[in-house]
Amino acid sequence: MKLRFSASDEAFRVEVANWLRDNLCGEFEAIRFRGGPGDEHSFVDQRKAWERKMGEAGWTCIGWPLAWGGRAATIEQQVVFNEEYARAGGPGRIGHIGETLMGPTLITYGSEAQKAKYLPSIRSGDAIWCQGYSEPSAGSDLANVKTKAVFDEQAQVWHITGQKVWTSLAHESQYCFVVARTDLQAKGHKGLGFFMLDMHQPGVTIRPIEQLTGTSEFNEVFFDSAVCSAEDIVGQPGEGWQVAMALLGFERGVSTLGQQMLFQNEFNDIVKLAKSNGADRDPILRQRIAEAHIGLRIMRYNTLRVLSGSDEGELQAEGMIYKLYWSSWHRNLGKLAMDVMGAESEILEAEPYELNRLQSMFLFTRADTIYGGTNQIQRNLIAERALGMPREPRGNN
């Protein structure tokens, strides 16, 4: 059992860090540490330019195969890359949905024509993608999709009609992958299709959702007979659920250490603040700061265990606690930040509703335990899949 990365991974780390040091500066200085979760609405144009810059230097899609312009980076190298990216204050990756979700899905399930059509623009940083899964009545119960896809035999196109919700970056995206019902008689995960839809067309309407932070990174997206060509369905009609679930499996935890580096930055800010405003002398806050530190360290080693894999099938069980663990930890960190700020936490930066970084983090962490599978759903999954407890009974609708 070893704690450390290999020497070659560490050499790769230096290469990444050097490139970031030399390039994440000048015109990009302003976007350092920006555009992460809770801040995705900010500096969109600059972040798009940054995405293209990374693309030119071959730092997008490093985990992709060489044939599609990737570096065929190992899991370890991808982890190291993400960690260094976050350490350097790399801005929230506006291209991450294309790179980490859509791209790998196409590489595995797409036709050659689809790959040739879509992969290069993701790789270059030109095309931004968004995700069309959730609907007003398909939240935790994701298979309860009502958006319809009707095939027009004559025009050889699909017409998509319905509503998606919680779509990040919808208004900045060129494409959206959409799960829609191709068999209108079918229910649940049967009879779905997985579509790649051009967002720049008349049948698509985007409405931002104003969040409790006053900002909007999530949107509602309405499809009114939006057109999707017959070539732009991944897999067969009826196989959409399988493709949709496989897509969620591609992320494989490579960005989790990067995420933890962002958490570390936030934690360091809190420590700095506590030292400067005297909160570091409050015995209860000292305990809570230490507890947050313990929690973040253990999060790292939870992750390293999962990334190291296991020969004995324990892997899945360990991986299953990750979302519940980090979301709960981060939500507590948000509250700790406010308690360390003390009474001043009530005062904003400016009118009309400009939050500072910790205030914004505090408010947005309430979303962490909801999106991507609520804590309640996570606990069900852990109990059912890892501990072998009976599944929740389903209703009859």
């Binding site: 570091d280 230490a290 313990i294 080693y301 190291s308 020969d311 069900n380 059912e384």
Partner: protein, 398 residues
């Protein structure tokens, strides 16, 4: 990334699991609890004579198995999981690190040799880290020699130990004080050992009382002649060494806690899958499932913290990380696993319902073990305060 057991470590873990699950059954634990020693002496002879587990962390050059703290943690995770009653932790995880870190070469050969023969050894130090007096034993240096006086409470397996490593406040002729460690054999004149009744009956603690016990310079760990007054620097160094010994011991306790946290979950899940109310197993209720999910999160996270701390312990013993890094890792592991085990054992009683509070079901034994280990060698809040000092009170941030 190889943050996982090697094939050899898996073999060590599996061997321990197979052996302990067979010899440390519920009936065996309950029978050991009634023994005056607190364990089955024949079983200890088997562990120390055939399995040679106390030799795991002893270097090969000194006759041991030359394995590391990861292997020790893997073994203790299993002993803790099945509540094994034995002086293994006291000997292998308290006394052995003390000897390795503080004793000189001749002492190492002599005392590790005794450990290898199956003698029971332990550390006489309460290990309270942030409040209360750490050491209530005084070693007084005078022209006539060195005398030990005072009381050391809560000494693990003190009642059956063949020899002790005693932490003492040393007062020199000049009136200056410093910490020192001493080898003391059981049966030495001036030493009285009294068994203390304990809430957790699977683990025995004793009180040692020293009354003008005469020490010779050779008994001092490190062998600095007692009449010679160590320099200020050396004294600080000794306090640091003692802290590192306690850190290594705390990591071993964490290993037993992780095993206990896992087993509290496992026996509870087994129970609730059988228990039927309102026509269905209670495992099908979401209120029950969610509690079990939280327990699994705690057990797995405590395990990750333990493996990290065990790796750091090996780095420390190999000289590739400093005492401060070891202290941080030990406090992280001990703080988290203390609360995880107590949480899981407490939830375990609740999940068992009424039978959870009977003596017949084992979950109460885990609950008491969890409580005992939680406050042993520093509880979670003491370790958090130690981390807070590192984070908040120093100019250098972590």
């Amino acid at each position: 990334m190889e943050f996982k057991f090697t094939d050899e470590q898996i073999m060590i873990r599996d061997t321990a699991e197979a052996f302990v699950s067979e010899v440390s059954t519920s009936a065996a634990v309950r029978s050991a609890m009634l023994e005056p020693a607190g364990y089955d002496a024949d079983l200890w002879r088997q562990i120390s004579g055939e399995l040679f587990w106390q030799a795991l962390p002893i270097p090969e050059a000194l006759g041991g198995l030359g394995l590391g703290y990861v292997e020790l943690a893997a073994t203790l995770e299993q002993t803790g999981r099945f509540l094994l009653c034995s002086p293994l932790v006291a000997t292998a995880a308290f006394a052995v690190p003390a000897i390795r870190l503080a004793a000189n070469a001749a002492q190492q050969e002599l005392y590790l040799g005794r450990v290898l023969e199956g003698q029971v050894a332990t550390l006489a130090h309460a290990g309270v880290q942030t409040h209360g007096s750490q050491v209530d034993v005084q070693a007084t240096v005078s022209d006539q020699g060195v005398y030990l006086n005072g009381v050391s409470r809560r000494v693990l397996n003190g009642q059956t130990a063949d020899f002790f490593i005693v932490a003492a406040q040393e007062t020199f002729a000049s009136g200056e004080q410093g910490l020192s460690l001493w080898f003391v054999d059981s049966g030495t004149q001036g030493l009285t050992v009294k068994a203390l009744p304990t809430m957790d009956q699977t683990r025995r603690l004793a009180e040692l009382r020293f009354e003008n016990l005469v020490l010779s310079p050779e008994q001092r760990l490190g062998g600095v002649a007692a009449s010679q007054e160590p320099l200020q620097e050396q004294r600080q160094c000794q306090a640091q060494v003692l802290n590192s010994i306690l850190d290594l011991a705390a990591i071993a306790v964490s290993a037993e806690q992780v095993g206990g946290a896992q087993q509290s979950l496992d026996i509870s899940v087994a129970y609730i899958k059988e228990r039927v109310q309102f026509g269905r197993t209670i495992a099908s209720y979401q209120a029950i499932k969610h509690k079990c999910a939280d327990m699994m999160l705690k057990a797995e996270s405590a395990r990750s913290g333990l493996y990290y701390a065990a790796c750091i312990a090996d780095e420390f013993l190999a000289g590739s990380c400093d005492a401060e890094t070891l202290a941080e890792a030990a406090s992280i592991s001990k703080a988290y696993s203390s609360e995880a085990f107590f949480f899981n054992a407490g939830c375990g009683i609740q999940l068992h319902g009424g039978v959870g509070i009977t003596s017949e079901y084992d979950i109460q034994l885990y609950f008491k073990r969890a409580r005992a280990l939680e406050s042993f060698l520093g509880n979670a809040s003491e370790h958090r305060e130690r981390l807070a000092k590192q984070l908040l009170d120093s100019e250098v941030s972590l």
